[in-house]
Amino acid sequence: MDIRIYNKTKRIAALLLFLMVGASLTLQAQAQQTQQSDYQIVQSFKKTYDNLNQQIDQATSVDQINSVITDINNFDTKYSSHKQLLDNALYPKTYDQEIQNLKQRASTTASRLKVLQSQSQKLAELNQEVANYSQQLQALNSKTDSLGNLMHRMSGRNAHMSRLIAEYRKSIKERNNFISSVIDSLFITYKNLKLSSVKSEAGKKSQIGANGNALKLIENIANNNTNFIDSHPTLTTAEYLKMDAVQKQFSDMWNKLGDKLVKIFAPNNQTKARNDVEQALNKWQSKVSNYTWKAVAATFKEQNIDLGSFKNGSGFYSSLKNYLDNAIKRSRQHADDQEYNKFQTFSSLWNDTVKTQWADNLVKANAMTYQDIATIDQKVSTWGQLTQPKSYAMFIYLGIAIIIIIILAFMLYRAKSTPDTSDDKG
C-alpha cells in the first residue's frame, strides 16, 4: 500500500516537473519573442517591403507574380501584429496604406502579365496558323502545278482534257480563295494584337526561322504568285482578274498591317524586312497587272472590238468610254445593220462576260467602281437604242385600221342612202 502511494506521488512529481519545464520553456520563448528591437522590426519591414516592391517590378511571368503575392500575404501576416509600431515608424504613411499599396501594385502587375501571357499564347497560335497556311499553300501550288503539267502532257486527248481543265480551274479558284482567307485571317488576328505585349516574344520567334513568321509568309505568297503567273500561261481573263483582286487585297492588308508585322517579326531589321516584302508585292502587282490587262484587251480583240491599249483599270474604263462614245456618235449619224451587229457583239461581251464574270473582281481590284460600270452600261444602252432597226409595223397597223374605218363608213353610207321598198310591196 505504501509502495503504491509512493509510486503515485512519484508520478505526480514527475508530471509537475514536466509541466514546470514546459512552462519555463514557453515563458522563455515568449520572453525571447518580446525581446526584439522595434528598430530592427521596422528596418526589417522596410527592407522586405522594398524587396517585395522590387520583385513586383522584376516579375516577368504569372507564376512569378503569384509567388510574390503569396510572399506579400505572408509579409502582412508576419507584421500585422506590429501595426501600431509601424504606423508610428512609417508616419505620415500607415502600415495599412503600405500593405495596400504593395497588394495593389502586385495585382496590377498580375493583370498586366496575364494579358501578356494570353497575348503570347495568342501569338503562338497565330504562328502555328501561319505555319499551317504555308503548308496548305504549298500543297495547293503542288496540286495546281501537277494539274498544269498533266494538261500539257495530255494535250490532244480531248475527252480526258475537259475533265482535267475543269479540275485545273477549280484548283486555281481554290488557291485564290485560300489566299483571300489568309488575308482575312491575318488582318483580323494581327489587327487586334497589342504590339507592345508581343514584340519581344515574336522577335525571338522570328529569329528562330521563317516557320510561323507572318512576314515570311506574305513574302512567300507574293513570290509564289509571281512565279505562278509565269508558269501558268493558260489562265483565263477572269482568273487573272481574280488574281489581280487578290493582289490588291493583299497590298491593302500590307498597307494596314505592315508596320505592325515588321515591328513584331523583325524588330531589329525593320527597314530591310519592309523593303523585302514591298519589293515582292510590287513585283507580284506588276506581273499580275501586266497579264491581266493584256488578257482583258485580248478578250475584246477576239470579238473584233478594238479598245486600243491600256495598262490598268482606269485605262480600261477610258478605252471603253471612248469606244462607246465613238460608237454612239457614229450611230447617231448613220445606223445600219453593220453597226447593229457591232453593238450586239459588244453588248453580248459586256453583259455576259464583263458584268457577269468580271465585275466583282474589277471592283475588288480597284480597277473600276460600280459607278463606272453603271456609266458604261448606260452608254451601251444608248448605243443599243440608236442602232436598233426601225420598226414599220405600227404604220402598217395604222394603215389597215384606216382602210377598215373607210370601208365601214362607206358601207354605212350606202345602207342609209338605199330607199326602203318594203312599204311599196305592202
Binding site: 526584439q36 521596422v42 509600431l85
Partner: protein
C-alpha cells in the same frame, strides 16, 4: 474687473505650463557619428556631439570610436543614449541648448554587444541582443533604482 485684471497679470507674468505631456519617441533612432562625432536625427532634428559620452565611457577622444549611437526619448522627456561597447546608458535631460546628464545607468562591465531601445511605457526597454533586456527609468534599472 479686479479679478479679470488679476488673471491677465497672472497670465503675463507667470510661465505657461502644459501638463501631462508625453515626450515618448515611439522608435529608437540609430545615428552614425561623422568624423567629428556629430550625430543628427533627421526625424526630429536633434543634433549633438557624441564625444563627451565617448569620453565618459572610454576616456579617449583621440578619434571617433563610437559606432552607431542608439537614442530614444522617454515619456518624461529624457533622452536615453548608448552605443555598442558602452557599459552604461546615459539619461540626458534637454535644457537651454544642452543635454545634461540626469543619470548614468550601469548595465554591465563587458559593454553592450548589440544594444537596442524599445519604447515600453512607462519604461524604456534596453535589449542587448536577444539575451538580455532591462526595463529602464530615468533613475536606473527597474527594481534597482538608486
Amino acid at each position: 474687473m479686479t479679478a479679470g485684471l488679476l488673471l491677465f497679470v497672472t497670465a503675463c507674468s507667470s510661465s505657461l505650463v502644459i501638463k501631462k505631456v508625453n515626450f515618448a519617441q515611439p522608435l529608437e533612432s540609430v545615428l552614425t557619428p561623422n568624423n567629428n562625432g556629430m550625430v543628427k536625427d533627421v526625424r526630429d532634428g536633434l543634433k549633438f556631439n557624441v564625444m563627451p559620452l565617448q569620453y565618459a565611457e572610454t576616456k579617449d577622444t583621440s578619434s571617433v570610436t563610437t559606432q552607431d549611437v542608439h537614442l530614444i526619448r522617454g515619456h518624461e522627456g529624457y533622452y536615453y543614449v548608448t552605443a555598442k561597447g558602452y557599459k552604461d546608458v546615459f539619461v540626458m535631460a534637454p535644457s537651454d541648448g544642452t543635454l545634461k546628464l540626469k543619470k548614468k545607468i550601469h548595465i554591465n562591465d563587458q559593454g553592450l554587444q548589440n544594444p537596442a531601445f524599445n519604447q515600453r511605457a512607462p519604461y524604456i526597454q534596453l535589449l542587448n541582443g536577444s539575451s538580455a533586456s532591462y526595463d529602464l527609468t530615468k533613475d536606473g534599472i527597474k527594481g534597482k533604482e538608486k
